[in-house]
Structure formats: C-alpha cells, structure tokens
Symmetry: C2
Subunit: 139 residues, 2 copies
C-alpha cells in the first residue's frame, strides 16, 4: 500500500495542513505578548457565538487560530462537535452521500484544502499586524 503521505505537491491536503501548523508556530514565536492584541479590532468580521462582544478583536482571532492548529495537529475528528453541525448543509448533503459519494468526497477534500489555505493567510496576516503594533517593520 502506498502511503497517503508519500507525495507532496502545492495542491496537497497534507501539505496545506502542515503549512497551516507552521504558520501558527511562526505566529506564536513572533507574538510574545498576545495581550497587545486585545481590543484591537479585526479588519475581518469573524463571528463567535460564545463571546460576541470580545470576538472581533485580534486576540480572539489569535486564540481561534491556535485552537484550530491544535485540532489539526491532534488529527482528531470530534464526531459530536457542535461547531461542525450545520443542519441545513448536512440535509443538502445527505441525499448526495447515497447517490454520489465520490462528489461528496471531492467536495470535502477541496473544501478542507481551501479553508486551510485561507486560515494560513489569516495567520500570516495576524503575525504581520502584531509586527505593525509593536512598531517593527516586516520585510
């Protein structure tokens, strides 16, 4: 059996997961005082059910990016994960799972790859913003 990790390519899911982990690692090593990110508004509107009022600052983004990295690295799928339960979406997908599982496979593979690429960009952008805040030019 050929290992699923045997090949790497810029469009590889495993490489996208590694790139994200690496970006979060750089972010952690750069952001020595995460508290400086508190109350700094995010350019992007990220929602957060649990803590609406504090959710749009860079600090909450920082925590979210680290939490996702922990899930990526622990490599565990939380099957009872309430955040993954999007009832409307799952209802749309259920019939397809019976009629065309290949399409569902490709949909999630592509989706996971895209969201990892997006989160890697957000992580690098947050690291750059921290450098701006502390007044260090980022070349």
């Amino acid at each position: 059996m050929q290992s699923a990790e045997a090949k790497f390519n810029k469009n590889s899911l495993l490489l996208a997961l590694r790139r994200y982990s690496s970006a979060v690692c750089d972010m952690e090593q750069t952001i020595l005082l995460p508290s400086l990110l508190r109350d700094v508004p995010s350019d992007e509107v990220w929602d957060c059910e649990a803590a609406e009022e504090s959710c749009k600052d860079l600090y909450s983004n920082y925590l979210m990016l680290k939490a996702i990295r922990n899930t990526v690295e622990s490599n565990l799928v939380l099957l009872d994960d309430h955040k993954a339960k999007n009832t409307a979406l799952n209802k749309t997908l259920e019939p397809l799972l019976v009629t065309d599982p290949e399409a569902i496979f490709r949909f999630h593979l592509r989706g996971l790859f895209s969201v990892m690429s997006d989160l890697t960009k957000k992580t690098n952008s947050l690291t750059d913003k921290y450098m701006d805040i502390i007044g260090v030019a980022n070349y």
Copy 2:
C-alpha cells in the same frame, strides 16, 4: 512543529484515509476477475453523470472506489475539479467562510472523515459480494 501524522486514533482523519486505502487494496487483491461484476446490479443507487446506463452495476462501483483511492493516495486536490463544484452548497458556505472559518474547517474535517468511513464500508461490502458471486464463503 509537531507532525500532523504523529497521533492516531479511531477518529483520526489520516487513519480513516489509510483504512480506506487498505480496504481498496484488499478489494483489488480479492477481485481477480472484475469483469464478473459487470451487469450485477448494485443494491445501492449510486449516480454517475457520464454513463447513466452502465452505472448501477457493481463494476462501475468497483472503478469508482479505485478512482477515489488513487486521489486519496496521490493526496492531490484538483482545484478545478468539476465533481467538487456544487454551486448551491458553495453559495451556502461562502458567507460562513468569512464569518466563521472555524465552523467551515470542522464541517469539512468531519465530512471528509464520514465519507471515508462510508466508502470503506462500501468497499468491504463490494469485496464480500464478489466472494458471494464466485461462491466462496466469506467468514
């Protein structure tokens, strides 16, 4: 950086991908005459855009399961993949990608894990059906 492959668990995505590859490998080793699967109707209704008339036999399921295994093992995401393009679903997901990327990440992670588990069951079931066809008891 901790490797994304470092930990394994029954709810691990990487392990689900490996289990699927392994099931398809067993299927290939068992099914020495795939042509025996031609025109044997599948219990399940799997759809296939390209070849509607021939698509509901076990042979087409066999080919589909092998094709997915090749994608899993090559570990490549085809970004212009027409099979992954489900416009209605992507339109539902797009706003979430901006407001709650964590939910999208978990949705796809869980979705990919589920579809791999489902496809592994289908692969094992197809292998069992072949054994029935050739008259070998499968204990």
